[in-house]
Symmetry: C2
Subunit: 290 residues, 2 copies
Amino acid sequence: MARIEKLVIVGVGLIGGSFALALKAAGAVGRVIGVGRGAQNIRCALDLKIIDAAGALDAATLADAGLVLLSMPVGQMPTVMRSLAPLLGGRTIVTDAGSTKQDVVELARRELGGSIARFVPGHPIAGTEKSGAEAAFAGLYRERKVVLTPLAENDPEAIAWVRAAWERCGARVSEMKPEEHDAVLASVSHLPHVLAFTLVDLVARHENAKQLFSFAAGGFRDFTRIASSSPEMWRDICLANRKALLAEIDRYRGGLDEIRAIIDCGDAKALDALFSGARDARERWLKDAQ
Amino acid sequence: MARIEKLVIVGVGLIGGSFALALKAAGAVGRVIGVGRGAQNIRCALDLKIIDAAGALDAATLADAGLVLLSMPVGQMPTVMRSLAPLLGGRTIVTDAGSTKQDVVELARRELGGSIARFVPGHPIAGTEKSGAEAAFAGLYRERKVVLTPLAENDPEAIAWVRAAWERCGARVSEMKPEEHDAVLASVSHLPHVLAFTLVDLVARHENAKQLFSFAAGGFRDFTRIASSSPEMWRDICLANRKALLAEIDRYRGGLDEIRAIIDCGDAKALDALFSGARDARERWLKDAQ
């Protein structure tokens, strides 16, 4: 990848801000222009030298951009893409950081016209509970996974550029079909979020909720940590990835029915096998992930 | 509480060992005798001065004991209680640390004869993933909850003694009916364990399990931490508390059906309300728990 002379970040939060900082730290970027709705957040990004200037969704900001990262909440994607389409120059490459990919691809095909050749959809699998520019840091993507879901229409050079940019951030980049990405994330991310939100909701709605919470300990706290995530973000993800998520919820209900039957008939051996198998699988995963 | 001149710990692991260390630190105990099947673990408990001597389930160890704590795995409870019954002196108070209470109470009523007056069932809601004497530490129970489920047959002095012993360990002691205890723990502890084991089991049995695990991140790790717990311990708990747990699984399936319907019909407002409500309830709980 040649150096990105002008990088535009639309949505300078944890994800977009960390991308800018990582590329700056790698010496891979010239000027960084931040675009965002929150004046205070943009000021913070300027103060922290995450961005060099504030821009807007206009020709001055976008026409000569080398790379544009769309890292605002997914709910703003339709509006931003529509504004972007007529402004993009003939050489600007665009990527995004949305948690779901089929909906983003569909939207891009509808909105971007000829620029679709240089729009490479992506999803960095990284983050913390924090948000906003002040949470950004250069090391967020080091050794973390980034999934690209390139399109048949993509210019191969655009794919190579986006891959190289993420690799300069320290990430490990892989490629999938958008539907494969959404199925994998439904299983290991979206489903657990739904399960955690559902448990907290049930306990909170219980007639003796106060007593129940007062006897909840460390296991409950860790299990439900993801139920403290942004409701708006997860509402959008659940709706955007509805089909794959519903399939995972149905598989999970099947699994729950199985273990319910095992407990109901008191089958100690089957219960032991299921618990031991799960624990061993988790321990292997933790070991492999090191 | 007067000082416990002779304390007998049956099962000198994290729970029993920490009880002994906490009482020693509080100057509330004279000699501590450890009883256990694992010679190596008992040697470790001696080396670490958790216990002052090794004993056995015999008259020499038990006849003049002031307090006996049963803190071995629940699966050994029937055998231990049967051995204990004929050995107990007329003044020895007995308590336990089992995670379920109705089954322990039923067993005690069947096995302990007249000694039931001085058997006060209990459950310290504390622990870590670690086990064995070497994991024990004096501060384990500080500010943690201990639930006693006293029996109608109990000598009030025995209840007061057991309560005082836990309070000397720094714990906050409350009392419940055994069935109330089991219902509360089914909801905030046993159910989450079943849900976490079930998720890991499903992912592990998936045809592309390897790929799924490779894209699992921090949310999945915390959600499933409790699926690394002892399979044997959780098998016993699930079977011992089967009735309350099945009721919680059924409630959870109802909750999952509700959220599935909300996602299926794309009701963004209802999804937002559920997620926001859950997050707010969790944040309130964390604040109250401080």
